[in-house]
């Protein structure tokens, strides 16, 4: 096991959430990243730097201390983070979450090499040299070892108060074979499914310019990351708003046309086009065996050359989270009147619901009232990928701290 950054022996001395030294450190780190020539070349690193600045963290801090219980919290001790193997910046986000909650952190970084990680850790190391942050230094340990070397997972698990596993499911299952001390807790970020709801009425009312703005946001939620993230939408449910079939069709054509025109900048590599066409052919060959319709699962397909495929579902199948997934610009669509028609999305796998033209609170109230066990986030299009302190249904500061009542 290699200590890549920070110390080998962590000081297990919890702080209160949002302690001054942590906020100072994150702000200094943010500045250092934003003035680092290499760091500036990575947009994902810059997004983190922007997130970590005092202006952003300070607002969260204020909000946090509005509640009485916030004032009674303290970190749990040591958090052992298993960072995801393919989203480089998440290892630093999870570290920052741990610090903000008041904990010392040992972060296992992926063995696969990422220049972003090298860069971010290099800058952390520089900032930690400052006298003012010696306390943070003692709370910081980034390590690297092969996932097969379970003796290290065992050792670190036995020492931690909270274990945080960034999935997917296979990683979680394999790490969970290693026991935690009885008092320790665990947070797991498993494989998830996400979708969107668009109001037909809202689309019809939008100006071309507004629609284009929406399409750009949609692009960033989907094409930008090859539709390959837990929170990227695969299915768009169009709320009919009592409009005529013709209006609905017009709205949908308008919507998809605007997506198509923005998606022109997407680089569709040959192999991705091929995989996408295979997915399309595979899904049109599916039947909805369970339904009374006893027909095809896919009613029709709108094709916008190979950049955008839109498959209209004749029903939402029970296994929608498995079956209705697209890659590289393939989406499913479904028309509905009332939320109850979407009940198959009450599935613990469902994470983010991106909305357009809907009342966020009304949808949340519905989910709560019906006791759904899916949907952890309701956000506008364009924000599906914004990771933050409330994620996957967890309030991370709460989960990484304890309350002295």
């Amino acid at each position: 096991m290699e200590i890549v950054c920070g110390v080998e022996q962590l000081n297990r001395h919890p702080l209160t959430p949002y302690s001054e030294v942590v906020c100072d450190f994150l702000d200094t780190y943010s500045k250092a990243l934003r003035s680092d020539i290499e760091a500036k070349t990575y947009p994902d690193v810059m997004t983190f730097a922007f997130w970590a600045r005092r202006g952003n963290v300070g607002k969260k801090k204020e909000e946090f201390f509005l509640s009485d219980i916030g004032k009674k919290r303290i970190g749990r001790g040591i958090v052992f983070h298993i960072a995801p193997s393919n989203v480089p910046v998440n290892c630093v986000y999870t570290y920052a979450f741990g610090l903000l909650a008041g904990n010392s952190n040992v972060v296992r970084i992926p063995t696969k090499h990422f220049p972003q990680i090298d860069c971010m850790l290099r800058v952390i190391e520089e900032v930690l040299k400052e006298e003012a942050f010696s306390v943070i230094r003692e709370m910081t340990s980034f390590v690297q070892y092969d996932r097969k070397e379970i003796e290290y997972t065992e050792k670190l698990s036995s020492l931690c108060d909270v274990r945080v596993i960034w999935g997917g499911d296979n990683t979680i299952n394999s790490i969970r074979r290693t026991l935690l001390p009885p008092r320790s807790t665990e947070i797991t970020f498993a494989d998830r499914y996400s979708f969107g709801i668009v109001s037909v009425n809202a689309v019809l009312k939008m100006s071309d310019k507004q629609l284009n703005e929406l399409a750009k946001k949609f692009y960033n939620d989907t094409y930008l990351i090859d539709q390959n993230a837990c929170s990227t939408p695969h299915l768009i449910c169009f709320q009919k708003d009592g409009l005529s079939a013709k209006d609905i069709e017009n709205a949908k054509i308008r919507f998809w046309n605007s997506i198509y025109s923005v998606a022109e900048k997407y680089q569709l590599y040959e192999i991705k086009a091929s995989d996408k066409y295979s997915d399309l052919c595979d899904i049109v060959m599916s039947s909805d065996d369970d339904s009374l319709l006893n027909g095809n699962l896919i009613k029709n397909v709108k094709g916008f050359d190979n950049l955008l495929y839109v498959c209209e579902l004749s029903m939402l199948p029970d296994d929608v989270v498995v079956k209705c997934r697209g890659r590289y610009g393939m989406f499913f669509e479904y028309n509905f009147d009332k939320y109850e028609e979407l009940s198959v999305l009450s599935d613990t796998k469902v994470q983010t619901c991106a909305i357009c033209g809907l009342d966020n609170n009304a949808l949340r109230d519905y989910i709560v009232k019906q006791g759904w066990y899916g949907i952890d986030r309701i956000v506008s299009f364009g924000s599906t990928l914004d990771i933050d302190l409330i994620w996957d249904g967890y309030d991370l500061i709460g989960s990484l701290s304890r309350v002295i009542c």
Binding site: Q227, Y277, D279, D305
Partner: protein, 357 residues
């Protein structure tokens, strides 16, 4: 036109206009057949092609992606009629294509293969060296692409030996005895490109041995992916083999388990030829438009043979181009093509932990 009637034509005699008519009629017949017998294909045509099954031009005939044969078991015959199942040779853990053959389709594949290959080797059988090991033919129920290739080409052999032991060691003494016994005769050799390079050529160089195969005819296939990574070009392959055994007649072929029989043989000019039993279109992957001759794109292969599974029109993951049609200096009619290689792997963005297909 039935395959029997098509077999009365020489595989490279028909010029474009004659071939197109015969071929299109056959493709329409196959589309109709699969539409009515294969439920999945029926849905594919209904949903993506509005139920249309008769087409005016070969370019309009719908194509399935080659990966679909890895995802689904597609067949247009009843389970009882399945005579054998061919699989692509994937490494362990990889998904393999499963191709269902009835007796008729299997027979037609063999007949067409024979017709095509005899244009290069002559009709009589020859002593044959199989550049592979005997174990590849075990387990006859599940034919791998490698085993199927060997069995298919074995029909050209009178006496046959395997060049390698099951440990892929060269049977040098046996080969030498064999060559002595059939001295002066044309020797037919068949194997897979990479294995010939790795276990035949390299071994002969290593032990500094020359085999007298000046009168040999070598047919090899399976692709250049591994050799390209060792920077071995077609030319280098031929020259190198010539240096260790004097062979001059070396023919590559392009083919796949999804369309067995309809192989594209390399002529004396180094071009891969479509026969009257198959055709090739090159498509631009941005919008599936058909590329001009000379332009590179994804290779779509069309075959007159697949009657037991809907594989008469397939979009491959290979990149290539059509070099010309009916005008190859070797005199063979039909399209002749060049294979550039597989589609390049692209880095996938996002967090791929979300879902593994």
């Amino acid at each position: 036109m039935s395959i029997e009637e098509m077999l009365n034509h020489s595989p490279y005699e028909d010029e474009c206009d004659i071939k197109q008519n015969i071929f299109l009629e056959r493709l329409n017949m196959l589309t109709y057949r699969h539409y009515n017998r294969c439920k999945e294909y029926h849905q594919f045509i209904d949903i993506l092609h509005g139920g249309k099954i008769q087409y005016e031009s070969i370019e309009d005939v719908p194509f399935l992606p080659v990966k679909i044969f890895k995802k689904r078991e597609l067949k247009s015959v009843s389970d009882e009629e399945v005579f054998k199942i061919m699989t692509s040779s994937g490494t362990t853990g990889q998904q393999v294509s499963k191709i269902f053959l009835d007796k008729t389709t299997a027979n037609n594949q063999q007949k067409v293969l024979t017709r095509i290959v005899s244009e290069y080797t002559g009709r009589s059988r020859m002593p044959m060296i199989i550049l592979d090991c005997p174990s590849v033919l075990k387990n006859r129920n599940m034919f791998s692409a490698r085993g199927a290739g060997i069995l298919g080409f074995s029909l050209f052999g009178s006496k046959k030996i395997f060049a390698f032991t099951d440990d892929m060691e060269l049977n040098l003494t046996e080969i030498k005895d064999f060559l002595k016994k059939y001295e002066g005769q044309t020797i037919f050799l068949f194997g897979f490109t990479y294995m010939i390079w790795q276990y035949f050529y390299k071994k002969l160089v290593e032990i500094n041995e020359y085999l007298p195969l000046e009168k040999g005819v070598l047919i090899h296939g399976g692709g250049w992916k591994k050799l390209a990574s060792e920077a071995v070009s077609k030319e280098k392959f031929k020259e190198s083999l010539n240096s260790v055994c004097g062979i001059t007649s070396v023919h590559d072929y392009y083919g796949m388990v999804e369309q067995t029989g309809c192989i594209y043989m390399e002529c004396e000019c180094g071009h891969l030829h479509a026969s009257i039993f198959s055709d090739v279109l090159i498509r631009n992957m941005q919008d599936f438009s058909v590329c001009q001759n000379g332009e590179m794109g994804a290779i779509q292969v069309l075959s007159a043979l697949p009657a037991s599974y809907p594989g008469h029109s397939i979009l491959t993951e290979d990149i290539g181009r059509v070099l010309g049609e009916d005008d190859c200096p070797c005199g063979r009619k039909g399209k002749y093509i060049e294979i550039i290689g597989r589609m390049k792997n692209a880095e996938i963005r996002g967090c791929s932990d979300t879902f593994e297909r």
